[in-house]
Protein backbone atom coordinates (compact mmCIF):
# COMPACT_ATOMS: atom_id res chain seq x y z
CA UNK A 1 0.00 0.00 0.00
CA UNK A 2 2.78 2.38 0.93
CA UNK A 3 4.47 1.93 -2.44
CA UNK A 4 1.53 3.27 -4.39
CA UNK A 5 2.00 6.70 -2.92
CA UNK A 6 -1.68 6.85 -2.10
CA UNK A 7 -2.82 8.50 1.07
CA UNK A 8 -3.78 5.74 3.46
CA UNK A 9 -6.11 7.80 5.56
CA UNK A 10 -5.66 9.90 8.67
CA UNK A 11 -6.10 13.35 7.22
CA UNK A 12 -9.39 12.51 5.53
CA UNK A 13 -11.55 11.97 8.55
CA UNK A 14 -15.06 12.24 7.12
CA UNK A 15 -15.31 8.83 5.47
CA UNK A 16 -12.65 7.15 7.52
CA UNK A 17 -14.80 4.41 8.99
CA UNK A 18 -16.33 3.49 5.67
CA UNK A 19 -13.10 3.46 3.67
CA UNK A 20 -11.37 1.41 6.36
CA UNK A 21 -13.96 -1.34 5.95
CA UNK A 22 -13.67 -1.13 2.16
CA UNK A 23 -9.93 -1.38 2.32
CA UNK A 24 -10.08 -4.39 4.56
CA UNK A 25 -12.51 -6.12 2.21
CA UNK A 26 -10.38 -5.31 -0.83
CA UNK A 27 -7.26 -6.48 0.97
CA UNK A 28 -8.87 -9.81 1.85
CA UNK A 29 -10.15 -10.34 -1.68
CA UNK A 30 -6.92 -9.13 -3.24
CA UNK A 31 -4.49 -11.17 -1.18
CA UNK A 32 -6.66 -14.25 -1.56
CA UNK A 33 -6.96 -13.87 -5.34
CA UNK A 34 -3.26 -13.15 -5.84
CA UNK A 35 -2.16 -15.95 -3.55
CA UNK A 36 -4.38 -18.44 -5.40
CA UNK A 37 -3.07 -17.17 -8.74
CA UNK A 38 0.51 -17.54 -7.53
CA UNK A 39 -0.15 -21.09 -6.36
CA UNK A 40 -1.76 -21.83 -9.73
CA UNK A 41 1.38 -20.59 -11.47
CA UNK A 42 3.96 -22.37 -9.32
CA UNK A 43 2.09 -25.61 -8.60
CA UNK A 44 3.03 -27.39 -11.88
CA UNK A 45 6.73 -26.67 -11.28
CA UNK A 46 6.61 -28.13 -7.78
CA UNK A 47 4.78 -31.15 -9.12
CA UNK A 48 7.49 -31.86 -11.69
CA UNK A 49 10.28 -31.44 -9.12
CA UNK A 50 8.50 -33.72 -6.68
CA UNK A 51 7.77 -36.35 -9.32
CA UNK A 52 11.38 -36.43 -10.43
CA UNK A 53 12.34 -37.23 -6.83
CA UNK A 54 9.76 -39.95 -6.22
CA UNK A 55 10.44 -43.66 -6.30
CA UNK A 56 9.18 -45.15 -9.56
CA UNK A 57 7.08 -47.88 -7.96
CA UNK A 58 5.25 -45.29 -5.87
CA UNK A 59 4.44 -43.21 -8.97
CA UNK A 60 2.97 -46.28 -10.66
CA UNK A 61 1.01 -47.07 -7.51
CA UNK A 62 -0.20 -43.63 -6.36
CA UNK A 63 0.38 -41.35 -9.36
CA UNK A 64 2.21 -38.00 -9.38
CA UNK A 65 1.96 -36.25 -6.03
CA UNK A 66 2.95 -32.85 -4.72
CA UNK A 67 5.09 -34.34 -1.94
CA UNK A 68 7.17 -37.43 -2.73
CA UNK A 69 5.56 -40.46 -1.06
CA UNK A 70 8.90 -42.23 -1.24
CA UNK A 71 11.98 -40.12 -1.85
CA UNK A 72 14.46 -41.33 -4.46
CA UNK A 73 17.18 -39.76 -6.59
CA UNK A 74 17.39 -42.82 -8.81
CA UNK A 75 16.13 -40.98 -11.92
CA UNK A 76 18.86 -38.34 -11.65
CA UNK A 77 21.37 -41.09 -10.90
CA UNK A 78 20.60 -42.84 -14.18
CA UNK A 79 20.54 -39.57 -16.07
CA UNK A 80 24.00 -38.58 -14.86
CA UNK A 81 25.39 -42.08 -15.12
CA UNK A 82 24.93 -42.07 -18.89
CA UNK A 83 24.83 -38.43 -19.82
CA UNK A 84 26.19 -38.67 -23.38
CA UNK A 85 23.03 -37.80 -25.31
CA UNK A 86 21.95 -35.15 -22.84
CA UNK A 87 25.38 -33.51 -22.89
CA UNK A 88 25.40 -33.52 -26.69
CA UNK A 89 22.00 -31.80 -26.69
CA UNK A 90 23.28 -29.28 -24.13
CA UNK A 91 26.29 -28.63 -26.35
CA UNK A 92 24.10 -27.97 -29.39
CA UNK A 93 21.80 -25.65 -27.45
CA UNK A 94 24.66 -23.71 -25.87
CA UNK A 95 26.44 -23.29 -29.21
CA UNK A 96 23.27 -22.23 -31.03
CA UNK A 97 22.25 -19.85 -28.25
CA UNK A 98 25.69 -18.25 -28.01
CA UNK A 99 26.26 -17.78 -31.75
CA UNK A 100 22.66 -16.83 -32.49
CA UNK A 101 22.44 -14.29 -29.69
CA UNK A 102 25.74 -12.56 -30.47
CA UNK A 103 25.19 -12.43 -34.22
CA UNK A 104 21.48 -11.61 -33.93
CA UNK A 105 22.07 -8.86 -31.39
CA UNK A 106 24.84 -7.28 -33.48
CA UNK A 107 22.72 -7.30 -36.65
CA UNK A 108 19.66 -6.03 -34.78
CA UNK A 109 21.63 -3.14 -33.31
CA UNK A 110 23.37 -2.25 -36.58
CA UNK A 111 20.11 -2.31 -38.56
CA UNK A 112 18.19 -0.44 -35.88
CA UNK A 113 20.86 2.26 -35.74
CA UNK A 114 20.55 3.03 -39.45
CA UNK A 115 16.75 3.15 -39.16
CA UNK A 116 17.06 5.48 -36.16
CA UNK A 117 19.30 7.94 -38.04
CA UNK A 118 17.06 10.88 -38.90
CA UNK A 119 19.38 12.01 -41.71
CA UNK A 120 19.11 8.64 -43.47
CA UNK A 121 17.10 9.40 -46.57
CA UNK A 122 15.27 6.08 -47.02
CA UNK A 123 14.57 5.20 -43.41
CA UNK A 124 10.81 5.20 -44.01
CA UNK A 125 11.09 2.91 -47.01
CA UNK A 126 13.33 0.43 -45.30
CA UNK A 127 11.26 0.46 -42.09
CA UNK A 128 8.24 -0.48 -44.15
CA UNK A 129 10.24 -3.14 -46.01
CA UNK A 130 10.96 -4.86 -42.68
CA UNK A 131 7.59 -4.20 -41.09
CA UNK A 132 5.58 -5.55 -44.01
CA UNK A 133 6.90 -9.07 -43.32
CA UNK A 134 4.90 -9.10 -40.06
CA UNK A 135 1.67 -8.31 -41.92
CA UNK A 136 1.93 -10.81 -44.71
CA UNK A 137 3.89 -13.99 -45.25
CA UNK A 138 4.09 -16.82 -47.70
CA UNK A 139 3.18 -19.27 -44.97
CA UNK A 140 5.00 -22.33 -43.75
CA UNK A 141 5.21 -24.35 -46.97
CA UNK A 142 7.24 -22.14 -49.35
CA UNK A 143 9.55 -21.19 -46.47
CA UNK A 144 10.07 -24.83 -45.58
CA UNK A 145 10.76 -25.85 -49.18
CA UNK A 146 13.19 -22.95 -49.61
CA UNK A 147 15.24 -24.12 -46.64
CA UNK A 148 15.07 -27.83 -47.37
CA UNK A 149 15.17 -27.98 -51.18
CA UNK A 150 16.89 -24.83 -52.36
CA UNK A 151 19.26 -23.98 -49.54
CA UNK A 152 19.69 -27.63 -48.55
CA UNK A 153 20.07 -26.77 -44.89
CA UNK A 154 18.39 -29.85 -43.47
CA UNK A 155 20.45 -31.43 -40.68
CA UNK A 156 22.92 -28.56 -40.54
CA UNK A 157 23.59 -26.70 -37.33
CA UNK A 158 23.06 -23.36 -39.08
CA UNK A 159 19.37 -24.16 -39.68
CA UNK A 160 18.83 -23.81 -35.93
CA UNK A 161 20.37 -20.32 -35.99
CA UNK A 162 19.23 -18.65 -39.22
CA UNK A 163 15.42 -18.70 -38.88
CA UNK A 164 15.51 -16.78 -35.57
CA UNK A 165 18.39 -14.43 -36.28
CA UNK A 166 16.40 -11.27 -36.92
CA UNK A 167 13.00 -10.31 -35.57
CA UNK A 168 11.07 -7.22 -36.62
CA UNK A 169 9.65 -6.61 -33.15
CA UNK A 170 13.16 -6.44 -31.62
CA UNK A 171 14.26 -4.15 -34.45
CA UNK A 172 11.44 -1.75 -33.59
CA UNK A 173 12.18 -1.78 -29.85
CA UNK A 174 15.90 -1.23 -30.51
CA UNK A 175 15.20 1.54 -33.03
CA UNK A 176 12.91 3.25 -30.49
CA UNK A 177 15.65 3.12 -27.89
CA UNK A 178 18.35 4.42 -30.24
CA UNK A 179 16.11 7.25 -31.40
CA UNK A 180 16.27 8.58 -27.85
CA UNK A 181 20.06 8.96 -27.99
CA UNK A 182 20.76 12.67 -28.64
CA UNK A 183 21.64 13.37 -32.27
CA UNK A 184 24.31 15.79 -31.15
CA UNK A 185 26.49 12.81 -30.27
CA UNK A 186 26.50 11.51 -33.83
CA UNK A 187 26.85 15.05 -35.19
CA UNK A 188 29.91 15.96 -33.16
CA UNK A 189 31.61 12.65 -33.90
CA UNK A 190 31.03 13.28 -37.60
CA UNK A 191 32.63 16.69 -37.33
CA UNK A 192 35.62 14.96 -35.74
CA UNK A 193 35.83 12.85 -38.88
CA UNK A 194 34.44 9.53 -37.62
CA UNK A 195 32.67 7.30 -40.14
CA UNK A 196 29.16 5.96 -39.64
CA UNK A 197 30.27 2.45 -38.77
CA UNK A 198 32.82 3.69 -36.25
CA UNK A 199 30.23 5.94 -34.64
CA UNK A 200 27.95 2.94 -34.29
CA UNK A 201 30.66 0.69 -32.89
CA UNK A 202 32.39 3.08 -30.52
CA UNK A 203 29.65 5.48 -29.46
CA UNK A 204 26.21 3.99 -30.01
CA UNK A 205 26.86 0.47 -28.75
CA UNK A 206 28.22 1.57 -25.35
CA UNK A 207 25.30 3.99 -24.97
CA UNK A 208 22.77 1.25 -25.81
CA UNK A 209 23.84 -1.22 -23.15
CA UNK A 210 20.46 -1.39 -21.34
CA UNK A 211 18.56 -2.11 -24.57
CA UNK A 212 21.23 -4.56 -25.73
CA UNK A 213 20.98 -6.49 -22.46
CA UNK A 214 17.20 -6.70 -22.67
CA UNK A 215 16.95 -7.63 -26.35
CA UNK A 216 19.92 -9.98 -26.03
CA UNK A 217 18.18 -11.88 -23.25
CA UNK A 218 14.96 -12.10 -25.26
CA UNK A 219 16.91 -13.50 -28.22
CA UNK A 220 18.82 -15.93 -25.98
CA UNK A 221 15.62 -17.20 -24.34
CA UNK A 222 14.13 -17.74 -27.79
CA UNK A 223 17.11 -19.85 -28.87
CA UNK A 224 17.29 -21.78 -25.62
CA UNK A 225 13.62 -22.72 -25.75
CA UNK A 226 13.48 -23.41 -29.48
CA UNK A 227 12.33 -26.86 -30.55
CA UNK A 228 10.27 -25.87 -33.60
CA UNK A 229 13.14 -25.50 -36.06
CA UNK A 230 14.56 -28.82 -34.92
CA UNK A 231 11.14 -30.44 -35.35
CA UNK A 232 11.11 -29.22 -38.95
CA UNK A 233 14.72 -29.60 -39.98
CA UNK A 234 16.74 -31.93 -37.72
CA UNK A 235 16.76 -35.72 -37.90
CA UNK A 236 20.41 -36.32 -36.97
CA UNK A 237 20.58 -37.25 -33.27
CA UNK A 238 23.90 -35.49 -32.83
CA UNK A 239 22.37 -32.14 -33.80
CA UNK A 240 19.30 -32.22 -31.57
CA UNK A 241 19.00 -29.20 -29.29
CA UNK A 242 17.97 -29.69 -25.70
CA UNK A 243 14.25 -28.92 -25.93
CA UNK A 244 13.78 -31.08 -29.00
CA UNK A 245 15.70 -33.91 -27.36
CA UNK A 246 13.37 -33.62 -24.38
CA UNK A 247 10.38 -33.60 -26.74
CA UNK A 248 11.62 -36.79 -28.40
CA UNK A 249 12.26 -38.52 -25.10
CA UNK A 250 8.91 -37.58 -23.59
CA UNK A 251 7.07 -39.05 -26.54
CA UNK A 252 9.20 -42.10 -26.85
CA UNK A 253 10.36 -43.93 -23.78
CA UNK A 254 11.68 -46.75 -25.94
CA UNK A 255 14.07 -44.14 -27.21
CA UNK A 256 15.28 -43.59 -23.66
CA UNK A 257 15.73 -47.28 -23.11
CA UNK A 258 17.71 -47.56 -26.33
CA UNK A 259 19.84 -44.57 -25.49
CA UNK A 260 20.60 -46.05 -22.08
CA UNK A 261 21.29 -49.48 -23.49
CA UNK A 262 23.33 -47.98 -26.30
CA UNK A 263 25.63 -46.43 -23.74
CA UNK A 264 25.99 -49.78 -22.04
CA UNK A 265 23.41 -49.05 -19.38
CA UNK A 266 21.36 -51.09 -17.00
CA UNK A 267 18.75 -53.72 -17.65
CA UNK A 268 15.73 -52.41 -19.52
CA UNK A 269 13.12 -53.33 -16.95
CA UNK A 270 14.65 -51.33 -14.13
CA UNK A 271 14.59 -47.95 -15.90
CA UNK A 272 12.21 -45.66 -14.01
CA UNK A 273 10.56 -44.07 -17.03
CA UNK A 274 8.03 -41.80 -15.31
CA UNK A 275 10.42 -40.20 -12.83
CA UNK A 276 13.11 -40.11 -15.52
CA UNK A 277 10.85 -38.04 -17.79
CA UNK A 278 10.42 -35.53 -15.01
CA UNK A 279 14.12 -35.51 -14.12
CA UNK A 280 14.95 -34.79 -17.77
CA UNK A 281 12.44 -31.95 -17.77
CA UNK A 282 14.16 -30.46 -14.72
CA UNK A 283 17.64 -30.83 -16.17
CA UNK A 284 16.54 -29.24 -19.48
CA UNK A 285 14.91 -26.29 -17.69
CA UNK A 286 17.44 -25.97 -14.87
CA UNK A 287 19.66 -23.21 -16.25
CA UNK A 288 16.66 -20.98 -16.94
CA UNK A 289 15.20 -21.53 -13.48
CA UNK A 290 18.58 -20.76 -11.92
CA UNK A 291 19.15 -17.63 -13.99
CA UNK A 292 15.56 -16.46 -13.69
CA UNK A 293 15.81 -14.37 -10.51
CA UNK A 294 18.74 -12.44 -11.98
CA UNK A 295 17.47 -11.87 -15.51
CA UNK A 296 13.81 -11.27 -14.76
CA UNK A 297 14.13 -7.50 -14.39
CA UNK A 298 15.58 -7.12 -17.90
CA UNK A 299 12.50 -8.78 -19.34
CA UNK A 300 10.23 -6.54 -17.30
CA UNK A 301 12.18 -3.58 -18.72
CA UNK A 302 11.64 -4.88 -22.24
CA UNK A 303 7.91 -5.26 -21.67
CA UNK A 304 7.53 -1.78 -20.33
CA UNK A 305 9.38 -0.28 -23.33
CA UNK A 306 6.97 -2.28 -25.48
CA UNK A 307 3.97 -1.12 -23.48
CA UNK A 308 4.88 2.53 -23.79
CA UNK A 309 5.55 2.37 -27.52
CA UNK A 310 2.70 0.03 -28.38
Amino acid sequence: MSTTGINTGGNVQMAAGKTQADRRLLAVVGYLFLALLAVFCIFPFLLVVSSSLTEESKIIEDGFQLIPTAFSTEAYGILFQFPDQMLKAYGVTIAVTAIGTLLGLFLTAMTAYVLARKDFKWRGHFSFFFFFTTLFSGGLVPWYLLIVNDLELKDRLIVLILPMLLNVFYLIVMKTFMSSIPEAITESAKIDGAGDFRIFLQLIIPLSKPALATIGLFIALGYWNDWYNALLFITNENLMPLQYYLYKMLGNMDGIRKAMLGSGAVVTASIPTESLKMAMTIVATGPILLAYPFIQRYFVQGLTIGAVKG
Binding site: M1, S2, T4, I6, N7, V12, M14, K18, T19, L26, G30, Y31, F33, L34, A38, F40, C41, I42, F45, I59, G63, F64, L66, M110, R117, F120, F126, F129, F131, F136, S137, G138, G139, L140, V141, P142, W143, L145, L162, P163, L165, L166, F197, N225, W227, Q243, L246, Y247, L250, M278, T281, A284, T285, Y292, P293, Q296, F299, L303, V308, G310
Partner: protein, 306 residues
Protein backbone atom coordinates in the same frame (compact mmCIF):
# COMPACT_ATOMS: atom_id res chain seq x y z
CA UNK B 1 19.19 15.22 -63.19
CA UNK B 2 16.95 13.32 -60.82
CA UNK B 3 18.90 10.17 -61.50
CA UNK B 4 22.07 12.02 -60.71
CA UNK B 5 20.66 13.05 -57.36
CA UNK B 6 19.75 9.46 -56.55
CA UNK B 7 23.26 8.15 -57.13
CA UNK B 8 24.74 11.04 -55.21
CA UNK B 9 22.51 10.06 -52.27
CA UNK B 10 23.60 6.43 -52.59
CA UNK B 11 27.24 7.47 -52.44
CA UNK B 12 26.58 9.80 -49.54
CA UNK B 13 24.78 7.06 -47.57
CA UNK B 14 27.06 4.23 -48.70
CA UNK B 15 28.20 3.21 -45.21
CA UNK B 16 24.68 3.26 -43.81
CA UNK B 17 23.41 1.26 -46.79
CA UNK B 18 26.19 -1.30 -46.30
CA UNK B 19 25.27 -1.57 -42.63
CA UNK B 20 21.69 -2.22 -43.65
CA UNK B 21 22.59 -4.75 -46.32
CA UNK B 22 22.81 -7.96 -44.20
CA UNK B 23 19.34 -7.45 -42.73
CA UNK B 24 17.86 -6.52 -46.11
CA UNK B 25 19.30 -9.62 -47.77
CA UNK B 26 18.10 -11.70 -44.83
CA UNK B 27 14.50 -10.54 -45.15
CA UNK B 28 14.55 -10.86 -48.94
CA UNK B 29 15.70 -14.45 -48.64
CA UNK B 30 13.59 -15.62 -45.70
CA UNK B 31 10.47 -13.49 -46.08
CA UNK B 32 10.06 -12.09 -49.60
CA UNK B 33 11.24 -15.11 -51.60
CA UNK B 34 8.78 -17.37 -49.69
CA UNK B 35 6.08 -14.77 -50.39
CA UNK B 36 6.66 -15.31 -54.09
CA UNK B 37 6.45 -19.04 -53.37
CA UNK B 38 2.74 -18.53 -52.77
CA UNK B 39 2.21 -19.53 -56.41
CA UNK B 40 2.68 -23.06 -55.08
CA UNK B 41 -0.92 -22.91 -53.86
CA UNK B 42 -2.00 -23.01 -57.50
CA UNK B 43 0.33 -25.81 -58.54
CA UNK B 44 0.66 -29.55 -58.51
CA UNK B 45 3.97 -29.78 -56.67
CA UNK B 46 6.70 -32.21 -57.63
CA UNK B 47 10.25 -32.20 -56.29
CA UNK B 48 11.85 -32.26 -59.73
CA UNK B 49 10.15 -29.04 -60.81
CA UNK B 50 10.33 -27.31 -57.43
CA UNK B 51 8.14 -24.34 -56.58
CA UNK B 52 8.47 -22.52 -59.87
CA UNK B 53 8.82 -25.46 -62.28
CA UNK B 54 5.85 -27.55 -61.15
CA UNK B 55 2.75 -27.52 -63.39
CA UNK B 56 -0.27 -25.33 -62.63
CA UNK B 57 -3.49 -26.92 -61.45
CA UNK B 58 -5.73 -23.89 -61.02
CA UNK B 59 -7.84 -23.94 -57.89
CA UNK B 60 -7.66 -27.71 -57.32
CA UNK B 61 -5.70 -27.34 -54.07
CA UNK B 62 -8.26 -24.93 -52.67
CA UNK B 63 -11.15 -27.11 -53.79
CA UNK B 64 -9.56 -30.07 -52.00
CA UNK B 65 -9.03 -28.02 -48.83
CA UNK B 66 -12.54 -26.58 -48.70
CA UNK B 67 -14.48 -29.64 -49.81
CA UNK B 68 -12.86 -31.90 -47.22
CA UNK B 69 -14.56 -29.83 -44.52
CA UNK B 70 -11.16 -29.22 -42.89
CA UNK B 71 -11.16 -25.55 -43.85
CA UNK B 72 -14.26 -24.71 -41.84
CA UNK B 73 -13.22 -26.83 -38.84
CA UNK B 74 -9.71 -25.39 -38.46
CA UNK B 75 -10.81 -21.81 -39.18
CA UNK B 76 -13.57 -22.03 -36.59
CA UNK B 77 -11.24 -23.58 -34.00
CA UNK B 78 -8.50 -21.00 -34.59
CA UNK B 79 -10.86 -18.05 -34.27
CA UNK B 80 -12.82 -19.40 -31.28
CA UNK B 81 -9.67 -20.30 -29.33
CA UNK B 82 -8.15 -16.90 -29.96
CA UNK B 83 -11.34 -15.14 -28.86
CA UNK B 84 -11.42 -17.21 -25.67
CA UNK B 85 -7.71 -16.48 -25.04
CA UNK B 86 -8.22 -12.75 -25.56
CA UNK B 87 -11.17 -12.53 -23.16
CA UNK B 88 -9.88 -14.81 -20.39
CA UNK B 89 -6.27 -13.62 -20.49
CA UNK B 90 -7.08 -9.92 -20.48
CA UNK B 91 -9.65 -10.14 -17.69
CA UNK B 92 -7.28 -12.19 -15.55
CA UNK B 93 -4.29 -9.94 -16.25
CA UNK B 94 -6.19 -6.72 -15.56
CA UNK B 95 -7.62 -8.10 -12.31
CA UNK B 96 -4.18 -9.26 -11.19
CA UNK B 97 -2.57 -5.93 -12.10
CA UNK B 98 -5.20 -3.86 -10.27
CA UNK B 99 -5.04 -5.99 -7.15
CA UNK B 100 -1.22 -6.04 -7.17
CA UNK B 101 -1.27 -2.26 -7.37
CA UNK B 102 -4.00 -1.70 -4.79
CA UNK B 103 -3.33 -4.12 -1.99
CA UNK B 104 0.07 -5.66 -2.21
CA UNK B 105 2.95 -4.59 0.00
CA UNK B 106 6.35 -4.24 -1.58
CA UNK B 107 7.60 -7.74 -0.87
CA UNK B 108 4.35 -9.52 -1.61
CA UNK B 109 4.11 -7.65 -4.90
CA UNK B 110 7.67 -8.52 -5.88
CA UNK B 111 7.32 -12.20 -5.06
CA UNK B 112 3.91 -12.54 -6.72
CA UNK B 113 5.11 -10.81 -9.87
CA UNK B 114 8.14 -13.13 -10.01
CA UNK B 115 5.99 -16.23 -9.59
CA UNK B 116 3.38 -15.15 -12.15
CA UNK B 117 6.06 -14.37 -14.74
CA UNK B 118 7.81 -17.73 -14.36
CA UNK B 119 5.70 -19.77 -16.85
CA UNK B 120 6.61 -17.29 -19.61
CA UNK B 121 10.21 -18.56 -19.49
CA UNK B 122 9.43 -22.22 -20.03
CA UNK B 123 9.52 -23.85 -23.45
CA UNK B 124 6.31 -25.34 -24.85
CA UNK B 125 7.94 -28.76 -24.69
CA UNK B 126 8.21 -28.45 -20.91
CA UNK B 127 4.60 -27.28 -20.80
CA UNK B 128 3.73 -30.49 -22.64
CA UNK B 129 5.64 -32.49 -20.03
CA UNK B 130 3.75 -30.74 -17.24
CA UNK B 131 0.46 -31.49 -18.98
CA UNK B 132 1.38 -35.16 -19.14
CA UNK B 133 2.14 -35.00 -15.44
CA UNK B 134 -1.33 -33.64 -14.73
CA UNK B 135 -3.56 -35.38 -17.27
CA UNK B 136 -2.08 -38.85 -17.81
CA UNK B 137 -4.74 -41.51 -17.25
CA UNK B 138 -2.78 -43.85 -14.96
CA UNK B 139 -0.50 -41.57 -12.98
CA UNK B 140 -1.70 -38.01 -13.69
CA UNK B 141 -2.38 -35.74 -10.74
CA UNK B 142 -5.92 -34.93 -11.85
CA UNK B 143 -6.89 -38.57 -11.68
CA UNK B 144 -4.99 -39.04 -8.43
CA UNK B 145 -7.20 -36.34 -6.93
CA UNK B 146 -10.38 -37.73 -8.47
CA UNK B 147 -9.63 -41.18 -7.13
CA UNK B 148 -8.75 -39.82 -3.71
CA UNK B 149 -12.16 -38.18 -3.48
CA UNK B 150 -13.89 -41.37 -4.57
CA UNK B 151 -14.67 -40.29 -8.13
CA UNK B 152 -14.08 -42.11 -11.39
CA UNK B 153 -10.84 -41.25 -13.22
CA UNK B 154 -11.25 -39.48 -16.56
CA UNK B 155 -9.53 -40.38 -19.81
CA UNK B 156 -8.48 -36.86 -20.75
CA UNK B 157 -6.17 -37.71 -23.66
CA UNK B 158 -8.99 -39.58 -25.38
CA UNK B 159 -11.80 -37.10 -24.83
CA UNK B 160 -11.99 -34.11 -27.15
CA UNK B 161 -14.57 -32.26 -25.04
CA UNK B 162 -12.15 -31.46 -22.19
CA UNK B 163 -9.56 -29.77 -24.37
CA UNK B 164 -11.04 -26.34 -25.04
CA UNK B 165 -11.12 -25.74 -21.27
CA UNK B 166 -7.64 -27.19 -20.75
CA UNK B 167 -6.08 -25.15 -23.56
CA UNK B 168 -7.66 -21.92 -22.33
CA UNK B 169 -6.32 -22.58 -18.82
CA UNK B 170 -2.83 -23.42 -20.09
CA UNK B 171 -2.76 -20.31 -22.26
CA UNK B 172 -3.83 -18.19 -19.27
CA UNK B 173 -1.15 -19.82 -17.13
CA UNK B 174 1.62 -19.11 -19.63
CA UNK B 175 0.59 -15.53 -20.43
CA UNK B 176 -0.62 -14.17 -17.08
CA UNK B 177 2.72 -12.76 -15.91
CA UNK B 178 3.54 -11.05 -19.18
CA UNK B 179 0.19 -9.29 -19.43
CA UNK B 180 0.01 -8.42 -15.74
CA UNK B 181 3.34 -6.61 -15.98
CA UNK B 182 2.17 -4.66 -19.03
CA UNK B 183 -1.03 -3.58 -17.30
CA UNK B 184 0.77 -2.86 -14.04
CA UNK B 185 3.07 -0.50 -15.97
CA UNK B 186 0.01 1.25 -17.40
CA UNK B 187 -1.59 1.60 -13.93
CA UNK B 188 1.62 2.92 -12.41
CA UNK B 189 1.54 5.62 -15.08
CA UNK B 190 -1.83 6.98 -13.91
CA UNK B 191 -1.59 10.41 -12.33
CA UNK B 192 -1.76 9.94 -8.53
CA UNK B 193 -3.47 13.31 -8.13
CA UNK B 194 -6.63 11.74 -9.50
CA UNK B 195 -6.62 9.23 -6.66
CA UNK B 196 -6.01 11.91 -4.07
CA UNK B 197 -8.90 13.97 -5.43
CA UNK B 198 -11.18 10.94 -5.33
CA UNK B 199 -10.21 10.26 -1.76
CA UNK B 200 -11.03 13.79 -0.69
CA UNK B 201 -14.40 13.41 -2.41
CA UNK B 202 -15.06 10.43 -0.17
CA UNK B 203 -14.85 7.70 -2.81
CA UNK B 204 -14.24 4.24 -1.43
CA UNK B 205 -11.64 1.91 -2.93
CA UNK B 206 -14.10 0.08 -5.15
CA UNK B 207 -15.47 3.32 -6.57
CA UNK B 208 -11.90 4.45 -7.12
CA UNK B 209 -11.03 1.29 -9.07
CA UNK B 210 -14.23 1.46 -11.13
CA UNK B 211 -14.14 5.17 -11.85
CA UNK B 212 -10.44 5.94 -12.11
CA UNK B 213 -8.23 2.89 -12.60
CA UNK B 214 -10.33 1.00 -15.12
CA UNK B 215 -11.26 4.00 -17.32
CA UNK B 216 -7.58 4.97 -17.38
CA UNK B 217 -6.71 1.49 -18.59
CA UNK B 218 -9.12 1.65 -21.54
CA UNK B 219 -6.55 2.96 -24.05
CA UNK B 220 -4.09 0.16 -23.25
CA UNK B 221 -6.80 -2.50 -23.22
CA UNK B 222 -8.33 -1.38 -26.48
CA UNK B 223 -5.00 -1.28 -28.29
CA UNK B 224 -3.84 -4.67 -27.00
CA UNK B 225 -7.17 -6.31 -27.72
CA UNK B 226 -7.48 -4.85 -31.21
CA UNK B 227 -3.99 -6.00 -32.09
CA UNK B 228 -4.80 -9.45 -30.73
CA UNK B 229 -7.95 -9.50 -32.85
CA UNK B 230 -5.75 -8.71 -35.85
CA UNK B 231 -3.97 -12.01 -35.18
CA UNK B 232 -7.13 -14.00 -34.64
CA UNK B 233 -6.42 -16.40 -37.51
CA UNK B 234 -2.90 -17.20 -36.36
CA UNK B 235 -2.88 -20.22 -34.08
CA UNK B 236 -0.22 -20.68 -31.42
CA UNK B 237 1.53 -23.72 -32.89
CA UNK B 238 3.72 -24.35 -29.83
CA UNK B 239 0.74 -24.53 -27.51
CA UNK B 240 -1.45 -26.76 -29.65
CA UNK B 241 1.27 -29.04 -30.92
CA UNK B 242 2.84 -29.76 -27.55
CA UNK B 243 -0.44 -30.21 -25.73
CA UNK B 244 -2.17 -32.33 -28.35
CA UNK B 245 0.50 -33.47 -30.79
CA UNK B 246 -0.64 -35.90 -33.44
CA UNK B 247 -3.44 -37.33 -31.31
CA UNK B 248 -6.18 -37.60 -33.95
CA UNK B 249 -8.86 -38.36 -31.36
CA UNK B 250 -8.71 -34.75 -30.23
CA UNK B 251 -8.57 -32.96 -33.59
CA UNK B 252 -12.28 -32.16 -33.78
CA UNK B 253 -11.88 -29.67 -30.91
CA UNK B 254 -8.16 -28.84 -31.07
CA UNK B 255 -7.01 -28.64 -34.67
CA UNK B 256 -6.08 -25.09 -35.73
CA UNK B 257 -4.92 -23.82 -39.11
CA UNK B 258 -1.25 -23.93 -38.12
CA UNK B 259 -1.28 -27.53 -36.87
CA UNK B 260 -3.31 -28.58 -39.90
CA UNK B 261 -0.84 -27.01 -42.34
CA UNK B 262 2.08 -28.55 -40.48
CA UNK B 263 0.58 -32.04 -40.60
CA UNK B 264 -0.43 -31.78 -44.23
CA UNK B 265 3.14 -30.80 -45.06
CA UNK B 266 5.12 -33.23 -42.91
CA UNK B 267 2.98 -36.31 -42.40
CA UNK B 268 0.46 -36.56 -45.24
CA UNK B 269 2.80 -34.82 -47.70
CA UNK B 270 -0.04 -32.92 -49.41
CA UNK B 271 2.21 -30.05 -50.35
CA UNK B 272 -0.05 -28.19 -52.78
CA UNK B 273 -3.02 -28.37 -50.44
CA UNK B 274 -1.02 -27.26 -47.38
CA UNK B 275 0.35 -24.33 -49.40
CA UNK B 276 -3.23 -23.42 -50.32
CA UNK B 277 -4.26 -23.58 -46.65
CA UNK B 278 -1.27 -21.43 -45.71
CA UNK B 279 -2.13 -18.91 -48.41
CA UNK B 280 -5.74 -18.80 -47.21
CA UNK B 281 -4.48 -18.10 -43.66
CA UNK B 282 -2.10 -15.37 -44.84
CA UNK B 283 -4.83 -13.56 -46.76
CA UNK B 284 -7.30 -13.86 -43.90
CA UNK B 285 -4.63 -12.69 -41.45
CA UNK B 286 -3.65 -9.76 -43.64
CA UNK B 287 -7.27 -8.65 -43.95
CA UNK B 288 -7.95 -8.82 -40.20
CA UNK B 289 -4.76 -7.02 -39.23
CA UNK B 290 -5.50 -4.22 -41.70
CA UNK B 291 -8.99 -3.98 -40.25
CA UNK B 292 -7.67 -3.96 -36.69
CA UNK B 293 -5.10 -1.30 -37.54
CA UNK B 294 -7.79 0.80 -39.17
CA UNK B 295 -9.80 0.53 -35.93
CA UNK B 296 -6.81 1.47 -33.76
CA UNK B 297 -6.07 4.40 -36.05
CA UNK B 298 -9.64 5.65 -35.67
CA UNK B 299 -9.36 5.35 -31.92
CA UNK B 300 -5.91 6.82 -31.39
CA UNK B 301 -3.74 7.71 -34.35
CA UNK B 302 -0.47 7.57 -32.43
CA UNK B 303 -1.04 4.00 -31.32
CA UNK B 304 -1.64 2.57 -34.78
CA UNK B 305 0.92 0.17 -36.19
CA UNK B 306 1.24 2.16 -39.41
Amino acid sequence: MNRHGFWRDVVKHRTLLLMLAPAVLYFILFAYVPMAGIVLAFKQFNYAGGIFGSPWNGLDNFRFFFESGDAWRVTRNTALYNIAFIVVNNVLQIAAAILLFEVAGKWFRKITQTVLFLPYFISWVVVGAIAYNLFNYDVGTVNVLLKATGMEPVDIYNTAAYWPVILVIVSAWKAVGYGTIMYLAAITGIDTEMYEAAEIDGANVFQRILNITIPNLYPTVIILVLLAIGNIFRGDFGLFYNMVGNNGLLFSSTDVIDTFVFRSLTTSNEIGMSAAAGFYQSVLGFATIMLANWAVRKYDKDRALF
